[in-house]
Symmetry: C2
């Protein structure tokens, strides 16, 4: 008998001793990091509201209880009884029965009302019909991404269960080594912004953290081909952890599956959906620009199929010697700080991903309290000695001034923005400014994937700032539904109309002017001296955005096939820098200074060479930590 | 046509343009790093004494010219004519004709007389018979190791030529990467003495430097199994470089072939032979102690077969972007500092191996002048702040006192010594002391492999200190042939006789009292309070030698099968520390201080934790270099 089967037998024994007589246990399996208990008496099981919690604490596992398929009520009968248990205000939009696992997926506008206080309504459903409910939110704004992901996962349910079972057995395999060490290998994102990719390794486990591309630097991908990365094959990785969906962290995750990776991707649920959206767009852009994309959309689907979503704060076994916990990073929807607890109290590493330390309109500020952390891998986008940004409040004032000025001249305000994060933050600013009369009511056009990204935000309000979450729960207060917002879905024709029309504000991707509809907007508006181009986010070296910011005034124009001409920019260029999704130098210092516990070592990454050096040196001198500004392709050993 | 064949064609073209009309070139091939030119006119080729040098400088290659097999004189005819060209005093002991390559191997007691001034005699031979002479020395003291290696290589000549041709094509393959970086990965020997193993890597090339075991720490082998080492298979290495034959650098070289390595080992010729001797002994010892050796003797033969010997100072292409030069390290016979020139002036790394900076009786001091060096990887055995050793002169005085005292008491002097290096140094000290009357004439017994190792030393006098070399060339002055020296080849019986006999000196392996005949000598002499145990070399942590040095007085005794008993030590223990083959702290500092050019970075390795830390910190503060005390399993990037 394998070690895993032996472990499962011991667990089954423990469960038998714990559950009241009369409740049968027909099977116990691992599905990913979770333990699944099948019972022929699901209703009785659900009666004891505390039983699952007791088992989970005893076994130190997350637990799902499912009815044995043999004892299920027929769906036709269950459907009405479920609806009668759930209050009408929950707004159930779909019920989907899966006889193989005894689960019923309930899609509702107000999932909280389906769950009930401390899960009482859920348990009531099981007591009533035996099925195990799983609750998802009906997107308040229709999102094709969310719908596609959900339909795809429904369709692949069988294979997914096999994948999860295999992952579960991998996680709970026997530890083989009696050696002890902990290492980080840098495959990208060192002394540069982009192509984030790190490996955390122990004698037992190899975990890849992020796998992104480098904006504005085609061909500079993470060093996946070196021996210590995928030299021994992609299957030498135990797990992949994705901090957030931005392409500089996620773009090459699907590529891993092309290389033969077949294991889990741990990330939050919104990050999974956003990764789907952004990587598919990444393929589109490549195709449009005549480049050969490194993988096709089938690989994006593989990535989604292999994603094991975890929630902020859940401690999850991802290998015999590593536990992962994701914490809010305050940067974009679903963005996480990845905390690795290695061995039994042996060592702890936190990867910041990208962080915003202060609260913003969209998100609570990044978490910086952990049970333990010895080494912090810290983003340094604004780590330079002069990278202090304007307060958002002042920035909002400045933006409003710019908008008012431009409005008075009859021009348009064009804002290149990442579809994900900064756009929604600006939408909140603009919605409030119009509501309070600080700027005139005028259309706010959303081009590129901004609308779709916004819809995804409203699907996961739990990941938004507390008060915003509450507003989204009430349709009439949902700021994203304000009538000024117009989704540009009519292509060039609609853009021409907007150009010819009265003053308005345009938010358009890509955020660093490296392609996408912003190119078309520049063509429409670039020669208009009354209009204004306003940068609100970080422009990486090598991007057109950075060049324009630095005074470049020639814009490539022409047809889609190949832009051969250039146009002289006549519109004003302005930078309003307080809206970044990144902590500025002060925010980074505050994050570290107030971090609990204080890390012993800090690796400064995800910044230009001077930024990582400045931050590394400042943290060393001011807070007396061992700090490093690693190069790509280095390996640090911590123990 | 492959890139290599294209290159060969270009080279052939150049040769045709360079050689006088009437000299035909029938083939040009790579054999390892050398270029081999076949000609149907070997005699005419040899007439122009400068032609080969001109070609070598033009092509920047080492060149061997061989006769086309079709035009060879018959060996029976050639034999006498060769003997008539070579002066009788050369002492030719064997002629061996190889028709496949047109080479004749001439073994002679005085190879210099076969070569002639600037190679004139060699060229004369070719002009006379057409064959290409290759000269080797007849060992002045018969060495079974040298004889076995030579016979084996003779027997495997065909396969060896295939191997060399494959290596040659590998070296001259096309460069594939346009990336530029240089890295060192530490697989052992960091913050410890033993299991030396480092990888130098570029986008193009991966070279393993040394592959040793750790004395006194069974099971602690280099981290070969991590992905960045052999994770992608042993064939992912382009080359192995061996600095010297000590087992902490060489023991696991044969293991690489068991793992599927099939490439070259670059090292000096004496190191190749000593490696054969020491690794075969390593297998013997393991077998005697009932351990399973990690490989068998077949793998030692593979290692020898794949060795490409190079001489001090020869600049050798070992891959498309790396040139290797070995320099005298002053440590043991054939020991080298390995200098890597990477790219076209891109970066230079020197691995010190083990060094002795001052001249000793046996060797010239370590070379520390190089064309360029940016990073030095420096041994730190005696790098600790207090690791200053007595001058060898004072040590010799002390040793002579100890010997005289013990002689007067009628006791024996027992010296555990490495077979290779320290033993020969002591032999020179003792021979001179007896010759000059400083100590009484008495037998010096050599046990373990010391005799054999000494024989190997006399085979390669070019690797010994200048004046010693000259003495060896004259039989009557060869100090190793002095009559006091007695080879213990009668086993326990002879040891008992020596024990019962008059005062004498015994040199015996192993040098750190970890096994070998020294164990038996301790059993014979350990209880004799009139005898003395004298340590003259470094005793690593965890070895019995170190424990005895620290006051431990229980010696394991018993039968070969399993030592179960212990015996109380009653003999005096003395340490005379000036004979080390290693530079002491002062020597290490002098090596670095006077090094030309000054390296930018120094990695301190091959020392206990405190030694590497002390040395690293001292070099940083005193000489203002960036210094490191790496851990095992780290990767440093330099460019
Ligand atoms: Zn980001
Ligand atoms: Zn980022
Ligand atoms: Zn032969
Ligand atoms: Zn050595
Ligand atoms: Zn050594």
């Amino acid at each position: 008998m394998s070690r895993v089967d032996q472990k499962l037998e011991e667990i089954e024994e423990t469960i038998h001793n714990e559950v009241p007589a009369g409740i049968s246990i027909s099977d116990v399996t691992f599905e990913g990091p979770e333990l699944v208990i099948y019972t022929r008496d699901p209703k009785q099981f659900a009666q004891d509201g505390d039983l699952v919690r007791r088992l989970a604490s005893k076994l130190r596992k997350r637990i799902t209880v499912r009815p044995d398929p043999d004892v299920l009520t027929r769906p036709e009968d269950a459907r009405d009884r479920i609806r009668s248990v759930i209050p009408d205000e929950a707004g159930v939009t779909d019920l989907d029965f899966h006889a193989d696992t005894g689960e019923v997926v309930i899609e509702a506008e107000k999932p909280g009302l389906v769950i009930g206080r401390h899960g009482t309504t859920m348990r009531e459903i099981t007591q009533e019909v035996g099925w195990t409910p799983e609750v998802v939110r009906t997107p308040p704004i229709e999102s094709s991404t969310v719908e596609n992901v959900r339909n795809f996962l429904k369709q692949e349910r069988d294979e997914r269960r096999d994948i999860l079972e295999r992952i579960g057995r991998q996680i709970h395999r026997e530890e083989m080594s009696d050696d002890q060490w902990v290492r980080i290998t840098t495959l990208g994102c060192c002394r540069e912004v982009g192509r984030a990719a790190f490996i955390v390794s122990t004698p037992e486990t190899r975990v890849l953290v992020d796998c992104g591309d480098k904006p504005g630097a085609e061909g500079e991908v993470p060093y996946l081909q070196v021996p210590e990365a995928l030299g021994a094959g992609a299957s030498s990785l135990d797990a992949v952890v994705l901090t957030h969906a931005h392409l500089d962290h996620s773009a090459l995750i699907p590529l891993l599956f092309k290389y033969g990776y077949d294991g889990p991707i741990y990330t939050t649920e919104p990050t999974r959906d956003l990764m789907g959206l952004l990587t598919l767009d990444y393929l589109d852009v490549a195709a449009k620009e005549g480049r050969t994309p490194p993988y096709d959309s089938e690989m994006v689907r593989e990535a989604i199929k292999h994603t094991v979503p975890i929630e902020y704060g859940d401690v999850t076994d991802i290998s015999p010697d590593i536990k992962l916990t994701l914490h809010n990073a305050g940067h974009i929807l679903g963005s996480s700080i990845a905390h690795f607890h290695i061995g039994d109290g042996l060592y702890n590493i936190a990867f910041s991903g990208d962080i915003h330390y202060e609260d913003t309109r969209l998100f609570n500020g990044a978490v910086n309290e952990f049970p333990r952390v010895e080494t912090l891998v810290l983003e340094s986008t604004y780590g330079g000695r002069n990278d202090y940004q304007t307060d958002q409040e002042d920035s909002e004032e400045k933006l409003k001034e710019v908008i008012n000025d431009t409005y008075e001249k009859g021009g348009k305000v064009l804002i290149p923005a990442f579809a994900v994060g900064r756009s929604q933050e600006l939408m909140l600013v603009l919605e409030e400014a119009m509501r309070s009369g600080d700027i005139p009511e005028m259309p706010v056009h959303l081009d590129g994937m901004i609308w779709e990204a916004t819809a995804i935000h409203t699907t996961y309000p739990e990941y938004l700032r507390d008060d915003l979450r509450d507003r989204i729960f009430h349709d009439d207060e949902n700021p994203f539904l304000a009538e000024q917002f117009n989704h540009i879905d009519g292509g060039e024709e609609e853009r021409q109309e907007v150009t010819d029309d009265d003053p308005s504000i345009i938010l358009s991707t890509s955020g660093m002017v490296t392609g996408g509809p912003i190119m078309s907007w520049l063509e429409h508006l670039g020669s208009d001296p009354d209009s204004k181009l306003v940068f609100v986010g970080y422009q990486a070296q090598g991007t057109l955005g950075r060049r324009i910011q630095n005074g470049w005034d020639e814009i490539p124009v022409g047809n889609d096939a190949g832009r051969s001409d250039t146009m002289k920019m006549r519109m004003d260029v302005e930078t309003v820098d307080g809206f970044s999704g990144h902590a500025d130098r002060q925010g980074l210092e505050n994050f570290v200074k107030t971090m609990s516990p204080r890390p012993e070592k800090v690796l400064c990454v995800h910044g230009d060479e001077s930024s990582v050096q400045d931050l590394s040196s400042a943290l060393y001198h001011e807070y007396n930590m061992r700090t490093f500004a690693p190069k790509n392709l280095e390996t640090f050993r911590f123990l």
